[in-house]
Amino acid sequence: MSVMIQIPTPLRTFADGRAEIEVDATTVGEALGGLVRRYPDLARHLYADSGALRSFVNVFVNDEDSRHLQGEQTPVKAGDTVLIVPSIAGGLP
C-alpha cells in the first residue's frame, strides 16, 4: 500500500529537505521502517537506542493518533496520510 508520510519541519534536513515521502507499507511500523531505511539519519530522532519509538514521538494516521489504535501495528491503506507529531516534554532532572 502506498502511503504518504509527512515529515515535520525540524526533521526535513535529514530527509533531503523533503516535506513528504511516499512509502509502501501495511502498518505504521512498516511505514516508519521504510522511511528510516531511505533516510537513516532520521532514525536517531525517531527511535531510542533500545529500538523502540521514542516516547515523545506520536504517529497520526489521517488525524487519528495511532497510540489510541494499535500502535505501530495500526494498519494503513493506500492513500492514507501518516503524520509524525511530537509531544513536547521536558523538565528538571
Partner: protein, 169 residues
C-alpha cells in the same frame, strides 16, 4: 551561532506566564519563521501559551500533548508561519536544559527556558539540540527592535524595566 529573534513584548508575555504558574513549570509554543542568511535562526511572530498537561510532578515536568502540537501547527500554517520552537520554565533552577529535556528534543527547533527564582523570572536562555543529540548548543537571543550590532549576548540578561504590551499570540 544560531539565534532566536524574540521581541521584548513576547518575552514579557512568556515571563509573565512563567511567574503565574510558579512553582509549577509553564510551557508554550513559539510560532514564526526560519531566518536564512549568514546568521541562521528563527523569528518569533506569535507566542502560544499551553497548559502543562502533566497529571503529576508539574513542579519539575511539563507536557504538551500531540493534539495541541498538531493544532498549533495547523494554526501556524494557516498564517503562512511554522512552529519554530517551544518554551518552558525552570522553577528555582537555572535556564539550562536537563538530560530529560535533551531526551525529548528534536534538532532544528529553539527551546527557550526561563529560570524563575522565588516566583520572579531571573534568566532566559535559548538552546538548540545538536544533530547528534549529544548536547544542546546555546543560541543568541535577539530583540528585533535593537539596531544591528547591539544584539543581546547569550546568557544572563535583565528583564525589561517596563512592562510591555500583552502578546497577541
Amino acid at each position: 551561532m544560531s539565534r532566536l529573534v524574540l521581541s521584548a513584548r513576547h518575552l514579557v508575555a512568556i515571563e509573565r506566564h512563567a511567574a503565574a504558574t510558579y512553582p509549577e513549570e509553564c510551557c508554550g509554543v513559539l510560532v514564526g519563521r526560519a531566518l536564512d542568511g549568514a546568521e541562521p535562526g528563527s523569528l518569533v511572530e506569535q507566542v502560544l501559551p499551553a497548559r502543562n498537561d502533566r497529571q503529576d510532578s508539574r513542579e519539575n515536568r511539563f507536557l504538551i500533548p500531540p493534539e495541541v502540537i498538531l493544532a498549533a501547527h495547523k494554526e501556524a500554517r494557516a498564517q503562512g508561519l511554522d512552529v519554530v520552537g517551544y518554551y518552558h520554565s525552570h522553577p528555582d533552577h537555572p535556564a539550562v536544559p536537563s538530560a530529560f529535556d535533551r531526551e525529548h528534543a528534536w534538532p532544528g527547533l529553539s527551546y527557550l527556558i526561563v529560570a524563575v527564582e522565588g516566583g520572579k523570572p531571573a534568566d532566559r536562555r535559548s538552546w538548540r539540540l545538536a544533530d547528534d543529540r549529544e548536547r544542546f548548543e546555546e543560541e543568541r537571543l535577539d530583540d528585533p527592535v535593537k539596531k544591528a550590532g547591539q544584539a543581546a549576548r547569550p546568557g544572563r540578561r535583565k528583564a525589561p524595566g517596563r512592562e510591555g504590551r500583552r502578546s497577541q499570540g
